[in-house]
Amino acid sequence: MSLQRGCSRSLSPRTTAVSASVFEDFKACISEEASCQTISEINLKKQKMIRAVLVMNTQGRPRITKFYEFWPVEKQHEAIRNVFSVLCSRAEHVSNFVDAESIFGPDSRLVYKHFATLYFVLIFDSSENELAMLDLIQVFVETLDKCFRNVCELDIVFNYSKIHAILDEIIFGGQVLETSSTEVMKAVEEITKLEAASNAINLVSKSVSNWRSR
């Protein structure tokens, strides 16, 4: 008897390492849902959006990063590192798509473009079309190019506030705002004019300190 019991014991249970690891994911996504208070908030939690824009150089240093959902800074950095380790091992002339679910969780996609010393990366979910996102990177880069006349990494490093302004004219809260680089340029020029105008007079504003003391 005992032999049969012993043998069948070792043959029966169906548990696998694979299912266990997938299971964790599910748990994670459940606990994330559970942490919200109401059902309607759960619905909203699943936002359909571009989740992040990353620009990093070929050494893996971030140059511009913008996350459209809240990520703690350590998580941001871990993600950047992981993305870089995938990108740096990719050959030339392969597709612009990379499996992102292992880094950014279920329903995430990643497209990237490599220009000179920089990687431009967009992370988004199934609400966006992959090739359209790739086009959006192109719009971003072409706009930078118009702005800085042959943009290079250094332009981005030393003008990152301006890059933020440009990015904000293209992607807004994780949605595509403007796709015409001409229109983006117009908006950016307006901003630049305003900055220049007020740079001339450096007045201490009373209202700022008033606001603090309120």
């Binding site: 032999l3 043998c7 696998t16 002339h93 597709s95 329903d107 030393f158 301006k162 007020s198």
Partner: protein, 1022 residues
Amino acid sequence: MALSGMRGLSVFISDVRNCQNKEQERLRVDKELGKIRTRFKSEKGLKPYDKKKYVWKMLYIYMLGYDVDFGHMEAVSLISAPKYPEKQVGYIVTSCLVNENHDFLRLAINTVRTDIIGRNETFQCLALTMVGNIGGREFSESLAPDVQKLLVSSSCRPLVKKKAALCLLRLYRKNPDVVNVDGWAVRMAQLLDERDLGVLTSSMSLLVALVSNNYEAYWSCLPKCVKILERLARNQDIPQEYTYYGIPSPWLQVKTMRALQYFPIIEDPNTRRSLFEVLQRILMGTDVVKNVNKNNASHAVLFEALALVMHLDAEKEMMSQCVTLLGKFIAVREPNIRYLGLENMTRMFMITDVQDIIKRHQAQIITSLKDPDISIRRRALDLLYSMCDVSNAKDIVEELLQYLSTADFAMREELSLKAAILAEKFTPDLSWYVDVILQLIDKAGEFVSDDIWFRVIQFVTNNDDLQPYAAAKAREYLDKPAIHETMVKVSAYILGEFGHLLVRQPGFSPREIFNIIHEKLPTVSTSTIPILLSTYAKILMHTQPPDPDLQNQIWAIFKKYESCIEVEIQQRAVEYFALSRKGAALVDILAEMPKFPERQSALIKRAEDTEVDTAEQSAMKLRAQQLSQTSNALVVSDQHPTNGTPAVMVNQLGLLKVPNPSTRSNMDNDSEDQRLPQVNGTLSKVEALPQSADLDGVLLDTLAIEGPPSSIVQPKSNSNLGLGGIAVESSALVPVDQQANAVQPIGNIAERFRSLCLKDSGVLYEDPYIQIGLKAEWRAHQGRVVLFLGNKNTSPLLSVQAIILPPTHLKTELSLVPETIPPRAQVQCPLEVVNLLPSRDVAVLDFSYKFGNDMVNVKLQLPAVLNKFLQPISISAEDFFAQWRSLSGPPLKLQEVVRGVKPLPLLEMANLFDSYSLTVCPGLDPNPNNLVACATFYSENTRAMLCLIRIETDPADRTQLRMTVASGDPTLTFELKMFIKEMLVSIPPAIQKPPQASPTPLQQASDVAASTDPGAMLAALL
């Protein structure tokens, strides 16, 4: 420029850049943070310019990956600066650094609102951008009306308006109540008339967000979307700056097509036609060109068009056109297009009816497994996995095995799992399956999970003819120099069990088997040793005549492990040692393992189903034919002796009973003769018993014959009536009062329908004259329903008419219904049902007949309902989650909060699901208040499609729950969701287990027997 004026910032960035290593960088950053902190603390003398500079530095440090846990206040405070540069910095940095629940943000709401309603457009833009990025619920409540005002204002510039649209999207997501659906639907439609493409793009994103929650309110936007698409596709009135590499705004085209995919159908034929024209133009007019960017743009539109075509469920012609295109794509040079071609083929394979055309590209897809790009290789693997079936399994699995040796490490695990599943699911013959798994273990043992090898052993154990083959194979692998431990386990197990079958072959003597296995013992881990010990015990048992040397050697091993610290090993060693000294008893105890019960992963089950189906069908048909022939003869010959006792005749038709002299007793049904049940009982016991196990099969078999049943039955009944006067005579006997009865249905028709939705046989309708019974058999998307029309009276029913009014999703074919149903006769009318589409609509049987002067007409719902095309499956966790994740979001995955649910304990709810063929999978969801279920849905259009359901209940309030339904087809998801919702909101009162035969007055007498004898139960039913 913001930075040109800030020398300190440039210096800091240069410093950081010049740092040689991470440590230096950290020191530099810490120093800077310390300085900023001090400056912020001593408020005095901090100019806005300085503040701005420091806040930028903070953002830079934050981007480098350092946590900046102070200074948020300073960033937020800059928002209220009067000058643009400071305000800009405040807004930008706040949206990057601060999370939406931050308390400081609340302080800024008023300032933000002032900026939004103010007249300064640049301030408006800044404020909208921040709210759009990090605005939370509070922002939503206080700002939504202002943002809506901006969006519809005619004086607002496009620059502001487009931001307002996306800002509203954010606020809507934070709190959907801020958009009043009734009022906003009209405004939304007006927004789509916008000429400025920037505003239109944002508005379209807003529309997508709105319709994804509730498309019904926005039907009026649908034709406008089609108009926009036409305008873009025809390149009418598109400003140059919105043309991207010659393509009119690909983003807007894509978004518009996205929005259209949220509407389940397009009803208006004109709109539908114009849309298809546009789609056709996109499909045909896109070529692969030299310029990469142009290619990307045009194909972004093209792939979205493909998705829309799939969603709209176009005619087959257009679908095959799409497949042809995809076939072209997977072979082009452009890697992006290859990638998306494969991905879309996989999607298309899951939902549409073009599998055969896709399969023609198999060779090319296999080539893609060797693509230099791992992203493409993965997609190719996915596609091969989903397109694999019995016809191509051998090729595909062998390709996968071959690829396994060279595959990237990262892909091997997935690859071996998929190969194993496919081999099991579609194995053409079991020896091939054994080959595949052994090869798999050989090539990638470390990736082969235990269940894979457990499974192969189950197969071998359960299939006697496979055992010698497996033993020989296992022996072969043991000869290899270095084998994976899993291989040691499998081969030791197989050789222990079945090695003796080959004892006469060279290399298979007990000693040789023992030696080669024992050689591996020093190399294996403790988990394998117990298996080896069992093998030794088995070898010992099979060694006849006993070999004392071998015996001593094995006993010595058992002895050695008797003191092993591993309890499993120790126990086995002790027990085997003791057992092996018991002599003859050993043979009994160590006898071959019994067959495993069939248990199963979804995959296996499905695989077996298909096999049985094909194998058994022919056998069943044959048997059915034979039976129908004999039954024909029987009825005729039997009829004479019974001398026109119609009840018996009906029984014979129904049960195909073998003639029995005992039926000769002239029984009168109406007299409720006590002998009848007895006779019936003995009848089926004595005569039908040998067949009784097959009874069900027999019944269904008769249905399997195309057409004939009714035509066979019909002449029979007529010929019986041909006996003449009986019919007339009996009609004369019909009691007068019965004729005068108003025709009232017996029992509740709706109730009967509901209970038939849950079981496959029973009474559909009954009144004093007629009883309509029903027996159905559902197989995938087809169903065979037999209507049993039984005349309960002693006079015929005339002008009998039955018409099926099928809903559009069902194809039905009802065989000829005779115009007259003879007295006390029962007529079988087979009805073939083919399910074309998922739908909740119900087919109706329009039935009428005339009895005496009463014309009766009833409309009966037929239980060919959605759940009949569901088949329960049990699915493994990995499959479930893989599917669950791949079906992301609407329209494939829909979620709804259902209120007003009939409160049910979870266990009962699980039973309810099970009764609808939705298999509840316990343990998948760790939350005990949730319930996860799945099933396969069949329709001609969707083919077999997996449906996944998750119900989250609220233990505090059982009347509400949240339901998520996912499947590969949007219509299916939607219909199933509604179906389950209806099911939960109005739970049928009695959830009965299927074979509860409803007693029929026609056979009242047999009721007693019905409760015990299965044959009689069927008789009662029919």
